[in-house]
């Protein structure tokens, strides 16, 4: 317990909505916990309580044996004393200071030489050289994000809190910064809590995912566990992507890549990220099912399998198929009847290569 961040608290708003948090993460090493949920699920409130910017109504927050909040004992450590790094959604850079001024802001008390060395180090780490004298409004979104990160890292925080770190960026920049951010977080020996509603971001950054819904933590687990095996229908609806499986690139050809997934091989559109290891994400509506064995075993993305479960959900049914890994397909009730799908039925599942989304892991 001593080497953990423990947060078990509740925040109520005028007796109406309440948010319950129950989170644990290790201290002193890189570990990214992603809080995943729709907007309004209370993700930002949890971060603000961890930072000391808001006071929970009940419960306890402790950092490696140091009490940050205790409702019963009336303890609330101010944000200044918690030494966390809080990255705001729109970065909150000081508009009246230069880039260098923003980054050195937290280092006022350090002696001059030490401060300058640390600022130089951060400029190098985040590739900001040459921007020292710019003002925040003269920077691109990606640059602003890196300046904000450098400012947060400057005083060596013990815990990093990131509020939708990529949502303020345009799509192409986001993809690039996502990779950089992951590398950076792995390099810092600091636990991180990151809030997002974007499942690609969650998969790319997370060591562990906590799904939030209706103001409470519904499921905590590794990314593929949470996304592929949601604990219940509520979690499944929140994560919105039914199949997430780890895979390895074994072949690249024309703009496609072949990945080994369990015992099966799937083709996907060549990923932008380098590396071999990816999560394959497939939405259930992109999977079609036919009765019987594949027409030709060499055809791409025709997977032979067996129905494991048929679960009706309104006008459609979710069909779990074992084809070397667990794949979920969405079919209409009518089609489920016509195909006489029931556990044990041999089927062929087909997925277009363009429907296989790759997220580096």
């Amino acid at each position: 317990m001593a080497d953990e961040v423990t947060a078990e608290f509740e925040k109520t708003y005028g007796g109406r909505a309440s948010i319950h948090a129950a989170l644990h993460l290790p201290v002193g090493r890189s570990h990214v916990l992603v809080l995943f949920g729709a907007s309004g699920a209370g993700k930002t409130t949890i971060l603000r309580c961890l930072a000391g910017l808001e006071r929970p109504t009940r419960g306890r927050i402790a950092f490696a044996g140091e009490t940050w909040f205790d409702a019963e004992a009336g303890v609330q450590t101010p944000p200044q004393a918690r030494a966390v790094g809080y990255l705001f959604q729109d970065y909150a850079l000081f508009p009246h200071l230069t880039v260098a001024g923003n980054i050195a802001y937290a280092l006022q008390d350090a002696d001059r030489g030490e401060r300058e060395a640390r600022v130089r180090e951060l400029f190098r780490l985040l590739r900001l050289e040459g921007l020292e004298d710019r003002r925040p409004d003269q920077l691109s979104g990606g640059q602003q994000q890196r300046v904000a990160l450098a400012r947060v890292l400057a005083r060596r925080p013990r815990l990093l809190l990131l509020d939708e770190p990529l949502s303020a960026l345009d799509a192409p920049t986001r993809e690039q910064v996502r990779g950089e951010l992951r590398g950076l977080l792995r390099g810092q020996r600091v636990p991180t809590v990151c809030v997002t509603h974007d499942w690609v971001e969650a998969l790319a950054l997370a060591d562990e995912v906590a799904v939030l819904g209706g103001g409470r933590v519904l499921q905590v687990g590794s990314p593929d566990e949470v996304f592929s095996r949601p604990a219940d229908a509520e979690v499944a609806a929140i994560v919105g992507v039914e199949t997430v499986v780890p895979g390895r690139v074994v072949e690249r050809k024309d703009d496609l890549a072949a990945l080994d997934v369990g015992k099966a091989r799937l083709w996907a559109v060549e990923p932008s990220g380098r590396g071999e290891n990816f999560y394959l994400c497939i939405r259930a509506e992109d999977v079609t099912l036919e009765i019987g064995a594949p027409p030709g075993s060499s055809a791409r993305n025709h997977l032979a399998g067996k129905v494991m479960e048929v679960r009706p959900a309104g006008p459609v049914s979710r069909v779990a198929v074992d084809c070397g890994f667990s794949l979920t397909a969405l079919v209409t009730r009518q089609a489920a009847r016509d195909l006489t799908l029931k556990p044990g039925t041999p089927v062929t599942a087909t997925v277009k290569a363009s429907a296989v989304h790759l997220v580096p892991r």
Partner: protein, 224 residues
């Protein structure tokens, strides 16, 4: 022109503005960030001099600083002379009279600073007080300058309060507006006209500076 009155008025206005800068900031800070339910009462008290006849305000100040009041008595015991009909007494009245002209622009400017910037500073380990000086003030500089300049200009032109509290002592409490009144009473229209024109020009210049500042602070402020 009565240069004694003009210099005295400038001194009174300058001191009032400086005192309001120091006193008005904490009041404005509290009014901006306090979540007390009865905050509106404090806001009303600060705004009172805007609507109250100066004679009413002057009357209460006169009673409050008179030798029979606790304040007047205490002041006389320490300093050795009464507070009423002195420059210090006049200064106190001026500070109260111009309070909203400083506090309201300060409050508006503080309230316009993005609270996230202040929270960002706190999470970076900077104390509330240091954050106020390093983030809030630099970002509300135009409002702070406006408040100081307006309270200076407003003090320059006060009449009723001075008449009630200051009396009319040459070189001590006879300000420009009182001097003009005296000259008119004595039918010296030429002298009154000169001083009046001087006050008009100075007031116009000051207000021009305020509006120019609020259009674009960085156009006149030497900051890169």
């Amino acid at each position: 022109m009565n240069w004694t009155a003009i210099l005295l008025t400038l001194k009174l206005a300058a001191l009032t503005a400086v005192i309001l800068l120091v006193v008005g900031m904490p009041i404005a800070y509290w009014l901006t960030y306090s979540r007390r339910r009865w905050k509106f009462l404090a806001e009303s008290v600060v705004a009172l001099p805007l609507v109250l006849p100066p004679t009413v305000l002057g009357f209460y100040v006169l009673v409050a600083i008179g030798p029979k009041s606790p304040i007047g008595h205490w002041y006389e015991a320490i300093v050795g002379h009464p507070l009423v009909f002195t420059f210090e007494g006049l200064l106190l009245a001026s500070v109260l009279y111009s309070l909203p002209f400083a506090v309201q622009p300060f409050t508006a400017a503080f309230g316009a600073v993005d609270p996230k910037l202040i929270e960002a500073s706190w999470t970076l380990g900077v104390s509330k007080l240091a954050t106020f000086f390093r983030v809030t003030i630099p970002l509300s500089l135009a409002g702070v300058v406006t408040g100081v300049v307006l309270s200076f200009a407003h003090t320059m032109g006060e009449f009723g309060v001075v008449l009630m509290v200051g009396g009319n002592i040459e070189g001590v409490t006879r300000t420009v507006s009182i001097d003009i009144y005296d000259e008119v009473q004595a039918l010296n229209y030429a002298a009154a006209g000169q001083t009046a024109l001087f006050l008009l020009v100075v007031s116009f210049l000051i207000l021009s500076v305020v509006y120019a500042l609020n259009r674009n602070l960085w156009a006149v402020w030497p900051m890169k």
